[in-house]
Subunit: 585 residues, 2 copies
């Protein structure tokens, strides 16, 4: 016991009792048995499973009680922590190191001294300022009180129709769960795709799945007004002018960080609007920490400060800030990589780091490839394709991000790549990973390896990638699929494609013009890779492999998506071949 | 085309046409369109799925044809590769750069010149030299000819009983698959546990699963003789003297690398008995490469050369050696980490790197912890526990290995840790990983994070681990489970344990002797960690947390495993607390 008495038994006050706050107080207690620890939560409940809320509405999580990870009594009995719900911290007096607290049950205000203060207030759902938006059948989905309201309404009113506004994580999950309760759902999204944090060609795979479940999908459209009658919303007026009649409305537009308290206290915010913190989660005031959705993290792919409103970073930062607050030291808060996953009916969509769209906007010299490979060996029954997109830096091969869509094994591939990215991996590292293989679990050449191979070949100039959404006009296009495959589904946007099945290519190579820049395609990009290599070594100067093939190209640039027939983003610019020398030819 | 003519169109000869050989020739072709490429395979088939063989016997892989990943015609048509099956390379003349080939169909020998030669001969099943071992109902499981023989025998003879010898990967898979065909299986293993590459307490979890499927499990016993009648094996005599009557015998004892050809040619072998190669897979003769089960790899955790008879490393090394042979350069062959997984009925068992037993034998100053946490959040239905053991270096925290057993999500955790190990990760890295989380896919605090937390706490002295198989005599033992839990199942090997439920500990702490070295236990190690922290900060000098808790301790040192009641290995030595200073107390 070498610590001074003050440091050894500080008073720690925590504002907010969900992911970040609850992680902070429990770690603080384990690291300092003698501290006084008080956690204030303005709402009814602490330490609840907010990622589980949609599944309680849908009934998959049947028991409301199971949403509570830890009750106030557990905090008291196991951790000797004083938890006060319905207590809102409304002011921070930094000079006196006191907070002012409003007890919502009694209406009283009181002051509480602190040695260390951790702000974990979270974020609040965005509610557009429309007339009628506060109707009793318009809901956000942020806490158990919200799901209590939704469930009570559904039991009482037995709604047959719902409009879900916003096709991000919460919107997609609520769409799925309301559908499973038999509600006819209209999903409205302002962007021309669902899941705007994903590149369009992968998001479009989700749209097919959504349309197959009879969801009325309205992309590229927003809500401009509500129609109300007798205090209830009865319709949603879209930006396009159409009115959708409905029995209830779910808002899944996004969240806004709860930074008022920090701002009032004169603590700085960062460029992304979250509370600015250092590597230990400390704000400008070293006695005040901030964690969770209200603060900024160092974003791994760019090194810039940014908000990341996800549970994982909040838990990690809370745990470390709690330790630092009561011991004076801890490991630094790790960088956040934006790793996330969402289930959409039978599909999963996972992502980490930057999409190609984000990478371009960030000004990075980014390249990308897409592979489609089975989640376990094809010869073992039940193999499901994983569509995996890798985004990487042109010069260094550093991985900037990955996205994957499929029915099985999506979480594993995203977690493997997220782990590699933690270490600053390049695409070459992916080719070298030693992953677990047995027929029912994977493949000796996993989709992760395949993505690494394709990207490494691209960077080496061995087989340069043509992005799947590229404009193929002006290129000689070679389609190396079989005649049956070609007659079954043509290569989108390339009516001028020449079909020479791969096994005939060496004999029929004279039918092609070796002087013309050439793009090669097949169903997925695998056979066209072999063909690319043949052409490159037989006198063709400029050859590209269309990464992702016919299957993904339909998703990338055709208008198959239900609910959207407007303009798509312009095709991607054609990449210059890498400056590194070509190998092997 | 700057290469010289010789280099640009070399003749590449490859010996062996399965994982390593097939990967070598296809990459070689893609990298060099002008090379002459010939692949000799002594057996009937090339490029077959040998990891799938047990599942074809069991019928899960119904079509024999689907075992063939690529047929010779595909090699010819797509890759312009000359594949010769039933052609055995019997001699290498290094001075002339020629091989002598025996055509098993014609019986003729001929010579074939090479510029580069790749040896991928694989390994041969170990067949013990017992009388009757060549009976027609005694089988190895190495290639399609073997499974053809097994299936033909089973169709003809309708065996009701089988003895499987060896409880490694193949033995366990054959046990499962024969059981699913209705055969009563006896599994015989010389070691006192199944899967000798795993630490015993995790292997014992598999033994419970095996016993629950009515397999007759004989551990710590080997076969000493066969009983034969009319050319068939009718019984297996065990080392213990007992005879097991049977209708067929499967040998799954292991494999021996096929190094004769390399030895004859004067190429050196390494200490582990495999062909010695450099970072590009080159043997002593730079024109001769070796890949796959016959060669050695650099083993990641130790940096030593060692054989790793797994498909992943063979595929990777083959691909790179094929490239190097025809272009003169390639990335180095990556280190192998021994990552593997096997399904045993409803359980999966995965591993990477060193077990604790191996680490001790390697002379490393290793420590370990075990966590038991759900594969996804417990509040979402269907959560299954993952038992995850982490082995790490005492001084540095470098991860040496991991093992996991459970019904769901085992492959993902092993792959994440294998990926981290590729980068030389420490246990601290695991705590910082940003993994994908949604309720049906994981948890914000994943089992991988939990293992990292526990190990980091151990190394920091925050909560020092007592290994699960330790002798608890002489320690004050505190069991912090509820009274009901304790009366339901006592802590094995600790009749002197004192039960104080965690939430009563602060009040009742005077019942314990703070001067005595104390071990704390609960069901899994989570509550006991909290209790450990309380004791350490309230005057107890030496406190250990029993990692894995009551549940795993039963597996670790009791004799619950079916089929074995002999002695267990001695309890592990008690680790000294780490030399790093204690934090937070």
């Amino acid at each position: 016991m070498t610590d001074s008495t003050t440091a050894a038994s500080p008073t720690l006050v925590v504002v907010g009792g969900v992911a970040g706050g609850a992680s902070a107080v429990t770690r603080a207690r384990r690291m300092n048995e003698h501290a006084t620890i008080i956690m204030f939560e303005k709402d009814e409940h602490v330490s609840f499973a907010n990622c589980g809320l949609p599944y309680h509405v849908g009934g998959e999580i049947a028991e409301r009680e199971s949403l509570f990870v830890a009750r106030p009594a557990l905090f008291a009995d196991r951790f000797n922590i004083d938890v006060r719900t319905r207590h809102e911290v409304v002011d921070i007096d930094r000079s006196r190191r006191e907070v002012t607290v409003l007890n919502h049950t009694t209406g009283e205000h009181f002051r509480q001294a602190y040695d260390k203060l951790i702000l974990a207030p979270g974020a609040a759902p965005i509610v557009p300022p429309l007339a009628g938006i506060s109707a009793s059948n318009v809901f956000s989905v942020r806490n158990v009180t919200d799901t209590d309201r939704i469930n009570a309404f559904m039991t009482r009113a037995q709604p047959g129709r719902a409009v879900v506004v916003g096709a991000g994580y919460i919107g997609l999950e609520m769409m799925e769960q309301l559908h499973s309760r038999g509600v006819a759902v209209t999903l409205v999204e302002l962007q021309p795709q669902v899941l705007p944090l994903m590149d369009p060609e992968l998001a479009h795979m989700l749209e097919e799945e959504i349309a197959a479940h009879d969801i009325d999908l309205r992309l590229g459209d927003g809500i401009s007004a509500l129609v109300s009658a007798e205090g209830l919303a009865t319709g949603v007026v879209l930006g396009s002018g159409e009115t959708i009649d409905t029995d209830m409305v779910i808002l899944g537009i996004g969240v806004r960080p709860s930074v008022q308290l920090a701002e009032q206290a004169g603590l700085s915010l960062g460029d992304s609007g979250g509370i600015h913190v250092n590597a230990h989660g400390q704000t400008d005031d070293p006695d005040i920490y901030a964690v969770g959705d209200a603060c900024e993290y160092t974003f791994g792919p760019t090194g810039k400060q940014m908000r990341v409103a996800l549970a994982g970073p909040a838990n990690r930062a809370g745990r470390l800030a709690g330790e630092h607050a009561v011991t004076g030291s801890s490991a630094p808060v790790p960088r956040a990589w934006g790793t996330a996953i969402v289930r959409v009916f039978g599909l999963a969509a996972g992502m980490v780091g930057l999409t190609m769209s984000m990478a371009r906007r960030s000004g990075l010299d980014a390249r990308c490839c897409v592979v489609r490979a089975n989640h376990h060996v094809g010869y073992y029954p039940g193999a499901q394709p994983v569509t995996l997109k890798l985004v990487y830096e042109a010069g260094t091969g550093r991985i900037l991000g990955a996205q994957a869509v499929g029915r099985e094994g999506i979480d594993k591939r995203i977690d493997v790549i997220a782990t590699a990215m933690h270490f600053g991996a390049t695409v070459h590292d992916l080719t070298a990973l030693d992953l677990a293989y047995a027929p029912s679990f994977g493949a000796a050449k996993d989709p992760v390896h395949m993505a690494g191979f394709v990207a490494a070949n691209d960077l080496a100039g061995t087989a340069v990638i043509m992005p799947i959404d590229s404009d193929l006009d002006g290129y000689q296009v070679l389609d190396v699929r079989s005649r049956d495959e070609v007659s079954g589904s043509a290569l989108y946007g390339a009516p001028h494609a020449i079909n020479i099945p791969l096994h005939e290519l060496r004999e029929r190579i004279a039918e092609l013009d070796s002087a013309q820049p050439t793009v090669v395609s097949c169903a997925s990009g695998a056979r066209s890779y072999v063909a690319t290599r043949i052409l490159m070594q037989r006198g063709f100067n400029t050859v590209y492999n269309l990464s992702g093939g016919t299957l993904l190209r339909a998703h990338a640039i055709s208008s198959i998506s239900a609910g959207y027939s407007g303009p798509r983003p312009a095709p991607a610019p054609i990449p210059a071949p890498p400056v590194t020398g070509r190998r092997g030819d």
